[in-house]
Symmetry: C2
């Protein structure tokens, strides 16, 4: 039986995700992010289409690498204004029963004692449907606004992250025993004090002597998502992640990363199959290929060269505002090495006329044009299946070109085709998000580092 393809939908609590410029399209409603009914309608649509989860990205500061200024990001509505994604989840959970919620929340500017309660609260309210996308944040603008002189150095952010998670694991997995809350009216015991334990954590970054504030939630630890692609980030993912989100890449790069992180997970004592991989995917679908191509052309007209380069600047740390055509071309040829798509684009386009900066920027439209698939439902489904079978991934993070039209198109056209082919679910299984994704119950799998923390029995009590 071929492997089931899991579907997450990507959103962000702001006008644009990585679809820079698309807010201008006549069908686009970027301002809907402020409306509660947009999110509750979306949740119901995704549940009807049997999506596994919605994935919320986030950003804690303006993108300002490009031209050393935030002006492009402000003008293009690029992840700015941006509201907190955590507050969308309770309303979406109230109108659904099965849809999962994977939410980005930074560990660099939060405290594990507070973060653990946030996630436990959401896991209780959603009945065990919470995933947490652990990010360390890479925006200098965020560090400054949280009062830091500069960002913590890259690898140190992950060191702090390891300890942050250790504290969370202790709070989630060890502080309250399963049968601590008894609500025994006769004996007058709501919670048995002998079954609630101080964690006694004293580390390099954190001291948390006491107990978790929340009683055990259905999953205890939320399903752990991660997206680090640096060497240190991949080690972090191999250790902690249950789901890995991959961004903008060829099948070859995808397979390389999947194999690398799985092998690092094995070295860390985990079963490599216990990590699920989700590359980003931008479908542009219509009833016929011709209509899809027309639709895509109408999108390409709205691509913002400056905005796209500003996004690329923030991702790469390179200021492309000073780059001319030749320097940009050289960058792309160096970075795009190995991508047949990019090689073809460059040779095909330059055969007709010299490529301009806007031509080159289009390669990064929608957050990386290689992630875009244009066609009929059959064509899109075929491409998804071929990509999944060639790379060992487990599903897709489906991104949109246009809010709200693209997700409706995908749900109406592509999902039924994938269901017909037996590659996505037509009905939900019962249980928590972790149970649905992995089939081994609601809790972390034994052997995951979250199940192996020990409390400090000698620590003074809180």
């Amino acid at each position: 039986m071929p492997k089931r393809i899991r579907l997450n939908f990507i959103e962000k609590n702001c006008p644009t995700v990585d679809n820079i410029g698309m807010w201008r399209h006549p069908d686009s409603r970027p301002e809907l992010y402020k409306e509660l009914h947009y999110w509750t309608d979306l949740a119901q649509l995704l549940e009807e289409a049997r999506f596994d989860a919605i994935f919320f990205a986030d950003a804690l500061g303006p993108f300002s690498t490009y031209g050393n200024s935030r002006d492009t990001a402000v003008r293009e509505g690029m992840s700015l204004p941006i509201n907190d994604p955590l507050y969308l989840i309770p309303a979406m959970a109230a109108v659904t029963e099965h849809l999962g919620f994977a939410v980005t929340s930074s560990i660099t500017y939060d405290h594990p004692y507070a973060m653990a309660r946030k996630m436990s609260t959401l896991d209780h309210l959603t009945g065990g449907r919470i995933g947490w996308n652990i990010v360390t944040s890479n925006l200098n603008s965020a560090a400054l606004n949280f009062g830091w002189r500069e960002q913590l150095e890259h690898d140190r952010r992950y060191d702090r992250g390891d300890e942050f998670l250790e504290v969370c694991y202790k709070l989630w997995e060890r502080s309250w025993e399963d049968d601590a809350v008894v609500r025994d009216r006769q004996r007058r015991v709501y919670t048995d004090p002998s079954k609630v334990h101080d964690i006694g954590h004293e580390g390099e970054f954190f001291k948390v002597p006491g107990i978790h504030l929340s009683e055990p939630s259905p999953q205890r630890t939320p399903v752990l998502f991660q997206a680090g692609s640096s060497q240190r980030g991949r080690l972090f993912a191999a250790k902690h992640a249950e789901c890995v989100f991959l961004n903008a890449m060829t099948p070859e790069e995808t397979k390389y990363l999947v194999d690398d992180i799985r092998s690092k997970a094995k070295e860390a004592g985990r079963d490599p199959a216990d990590i699920l991989f989700f590359p980003r995917f931008v479908p542009v679908v219509a009833p016929t290929e011709r209509e899809a191509r027309e639709k895509f052309e109408s999108y390409l007209e709205q691509v913002s060269t400056e905005g796209t380069l500003a996004l690329l600047s923030s991702w790469s740390g390179i200021d492309f505002s000073a780059f001319g055509r030749d320097e940009l071309l050289a960058f792309i040829e160096r970075k795009g090495n190995g991508s047949q798509y990019i090689a073809d684009y460059l040779s095909r386009a330059s055969a007709e006329r010299p490529l301009t900066v806007p031509d080159l920027a289009k390669l990064y439209a929608f957050g990386g044009i290689e992630n875009v698939a244009v066609g009929s439902a059959e064509q899109i489904a075929e491409r998804m299946i071929a990509f999944a079978d060639a790379t060992g991934i487990d599903g897709f993070n489906v991104a949109y070109a246009i809010r709200p039209a693209s997700v409706r198109d995908f749900a109406d056209l592509v999902v039924p085709e994938l269901q017909r082919l037996g590659r996505v679910q037509s009905e939900y299984e019962a249980g928590s998000l972790r149970g649905k994704l992995f089939g081994h119950g609601d809790r972390l799998k034994p052997g995951h580092p979250g199940t192996r923390t020990e409390l400090n029995a000698n620590a003074p009590t809180s």
Copy 2:
């Protein structure tokens, strides 16, 4: 026309609020706090009864003053386990149109850059129905778990609080101009960069150079609630608060505090009438007085002496576990000075037989038995009106004895009586929470310190 009485309902995302022991009552469903449908049903009930708002209390650590141990709090389910209240609001907002939400969130363990975005997000999602109960947190257990060696000293917490609010005001009121977001598809401008300003804040406690992450929400600044009763706390309230929550007191004490804070507000350059006061009130109502008294007797049977004294210990900082009957009696006579109710109780009870510790603890049942009113709907309404007219308060924070029965009783019996007497609203006005409470529009009233902050134009940009 007599002054309208405003109604807030008090809740907490945990098994018990201050109704210690009541979870044992056969009608009580303390565990409902974990269920999303409890909160959405409650929101609809409160909106049908035309409550102005729901008020969420919170605690960030176990109550452990009593016997220098958290065991009593754990055993009695006293504000523990406790989930984060912020996440209840979006789901409750999705099923209502008018109900306001006042939520407790501590400024001592959060950062203003993050807090400002949380509140703006909630104000957007609720369409301008957010209030924020600003607390500085007084639990040492919370300080320790956030990695502090000990709590910041009491008055310093308020100094930090003043600066915390100054940063929030700059972010909410000054960073984005009203017409910054233009979404001009022709000119390709989502937001006009010249209308989004760095706040350039550099203070004793915080450095926040940059811009607010959120665009202006309906109210910009949430309606500001405060409950400080110390001298420094009252100065803080007089400066910032639009609504003040008062706890457990006689009409005389209430009037004294109302007059004192209003006079401090006047000294701070504000109109004393711009602060609304809400004492805590626990109605026990039934169709007849006799039935109400029977109901109350069934509640009194469940009062936990140890739990009640533990609550009083956490409030007062005095460990009552070591107190015998005589010491407790002396404490009550000293602290209860001026309360006719307490004087009567002590003399009446001791005339029959020597008062025991459980007898004395009952004075603090339900968070202060003087706040409890027992009777028919007419009697309860009469008492509320008399109290309001005698003290100059503006409404009540209605607390419950039993979840979920008490609020239904109040909504079904007392609200119609108050409506019949023309003292509470029968229909909502349109507009934001601030607009509904004060009638001067959605935004802070000119003259409030939040409207008087200035940006640092010379600060380096973020």
